[in-house]
Symmetry: C2
Subunit: 373 residues, 2 copies
């Protein structure tokens, strides 16, 4: 029983080897292929970081230019996919849309050979923003947006499609940093899902569909959307803190605080908070930022819990004018890079992931024919 408790959810138990990422357990531990997350967020673009995750090295200027041009070419939606997106109900969960579109793309542009894996990773990285924005805009307004923009960065592409006009430099950088911070995080639940699927030698799309499905959950990617709900109906820091206390009294979890791996701080929080603060100065609902700081302080003092990446990311996205229902799909647009890296790594040294279980049910029962039951 103690043994079982110790391994509940496999927490802290190594399920395999990786050369992609360290998370550490102190605030300074997060590195992608050895590069500190703080440096990447400050000095690199998401295109450089995604290249690093897909190819293992930061690109030279020539490599980056070629890569960006491939990403631009990969933005277009195949006609069958576009029509399918128009058929999906406007009330659907946007993560269900991402999962379905990824799955359908797997029938239209199948992975016939593992040699295609990097090409498919780039295609998915390029097309996910188009899928997300096309469906959202069509389902909300009936408008068929053009996804094949010539914007150089994914951050700009996303903000341009959603707002119908190009973002300013600060908005673009805030989105870019968010994509960098969400890109990779070792054996989290969605990545581990992708690796198990890859370990059966299934195709790339199957692995990514599985990962999207896991990311959708409230205990994983769904947390960023949920954490924005704290601010609704509050106008002052005092009201926001009162709201948190009320939720805690009702035994509700405060989303955006604490972490399954980190114990003292999330090394990504300071980065995203910096941009949320800058954006707040020119955004509608900019007063959310002081409310957020009040909540953060209160949670630290009274619950000894720190704000994780999701907390200030939600604000960041809100200040960028992004509807809350797209927060988790945005996570997909970023994390596809980490998932892809792990699928490729799993395939390279593959062993089928097939654990055992402790049986706690009825030992043996005699079969009784239905007429005698």
């Amino acid at each position: 029983m103690d043994e079982q408790k110790k391994t509940a959810g496999l927490r802290g138990f190594s399920a395999g080897e990786t050369a992609i990422c360290t998370v550490g357990n102190q605030a300074a531990g997060l590195r992608y292929y050895g590069y500190d997350i703080g440096c990447l967020a400050q000095y690199a673009s998401f295109e450089e970081v995604s290249y690093l995750l897909l190819y293992g090295e930061l690109p030279t200027t020539a490599q980056l230019n070629g890569y960006i041009s491939r990403l631009k070419q990969g933005r277009g939606l195949p006609e069958t996919l576009r029509l399918a997106l128009e058929q999906i109900p406007a009330t659907s969960h946007p993560m269900d849309v991402m999962r379905t579109a990824c799955s359908l793309l797997g029938t239209l542009e199948p992975e016939l050979d593992f040699a295609q894996q990097q090409q498919i990773a780039v295609r998915l990285l390029a097309i996910f923003p188009s899928i997300m924005c096309y469906w959202y805009c069509f389902s909300q307004t009936g408008k068929r947006i053009d996804c094949a923009s010539q914007d150089d960065t994914i951050a700009c592409h996303i903000l341009h499609m959603l707002a119908g006009k190009p973002p300013n430099a600060m908005q673009q950088k805030a989105m870019d940093v968010s994509l960098i911070l969400y890109a990779e995080h070792e054996f989290n639940a969605s990545t581990f899902t992708a690796r198990i699927c890859a370990s059966t030698l299934s195709d790339f799309y199957s692995s990514v569909c599985g990962a999207i499905g896991s990311l959708r959950g409230l205990l994983h990617g769904g947390a960023n959307e949920a954490s924005l709900q704290l601010f609704a109906c509050c106008d002052t820091p005092e009201q926001a803190v009162a709201r948190v206390m009320e939720k805690l009294q009702q035994q509700e979890k405060i989303m955006g605080f604490g972490h399954a791996v980190y114990k003292n701080a999330d090394p990504r929080s300071a980065q995203i908070k910096h941009w949320a603060k800058l954006l707040s100065e020119q955004a509608a609902n900019g007063h959310y930022f002081v409310m957020a700081e009040a909540i953060e302080q209160w949670m630290q003092q009274h619950k000894n819990l720190f704000a994780n990446l999701d907390f200030y990311s939600a604000l960041n996205y809100h200040f960028l004018g992004i509807p809350a229902c797209l927060f988790t799909p945005l996570f997909v647009c970023s994390r596809i890079t980490g998932w892809s890296a792990h699928i490729m790594e799993q395939r390279q040294h593959n062993v089928l992931i097939r654990p055992a279980a402790d049986y706690i049910g009825i030992a043996q029962r005699e079969f009784i024919p239905i007429t005698q039951r």
Copy 2:
């Protein structure tokens, strides 16, 4: 390093508790909720067994009748799904079709509350055969089959849709037994995928999509389709054995032999072999059966490997006139019961499944700006 090897693929390591199934490691070990698999295959119907997996007890006659009538009602395809199936290319992998259809259904009939979970499990069990057969028949012949048959059993429903006429009693029973044997198998890779996804508190369809994706792999569900390829281009037992020897010389794996959990025998093999033998007596290519026995004997004697469920199942399906590309989707039609049971069990005592990893990459690298790379 030794520690790592020991836990490669988490083999033999308990990833949690379950009351649904024991696999044991001897041939007699497989039980669903305490009932021996041999008894279930001989004396119960797949409808009884699926009820057992979804509700934890074998049904009374009244319960079974109500359940069968719900299953019959669940066979119809929503119009949007039907049209989407017609758009999926005829060359697609049928498992990609199952995954996409399941995902799309999740947007059309979403799980808005976990209280709907059993209802959704029954719906998926009822509709998967319709999805599989509708797409297959339409993509191959352009014919739009009627999926809302009044056949009492799932086995009959499947065979009826594929052949365009009702099966005889022996064919129906052979299919029924196959569905029972494939229904559940503890923490196999696809079920574990479903549980991880469920552990994030994601929805039912996401978990099932992830499971379908994992089952698709050649090291998991894909093996039954692959094992039929042994028989192609062979006419005699001697030729078949020669084919196997040739493959082994070329370092190819012989699909349908050995098992990740079982060491001496697969407790399901004798059951399915029995029906394959009976079917062979009235089937086209009935001589495959003696070829299969010759291969089985040779593999046992020379490689000390036993035939697993997939080996004679492939023959069984072939004798039933089922195209090889549908063998793994048929596995989905059966295993949806086990997946559903595990998703519900995971939710009941949920802990997020989030393992750690051993880092084997570069410890730390200094960031170099792109102009200096």
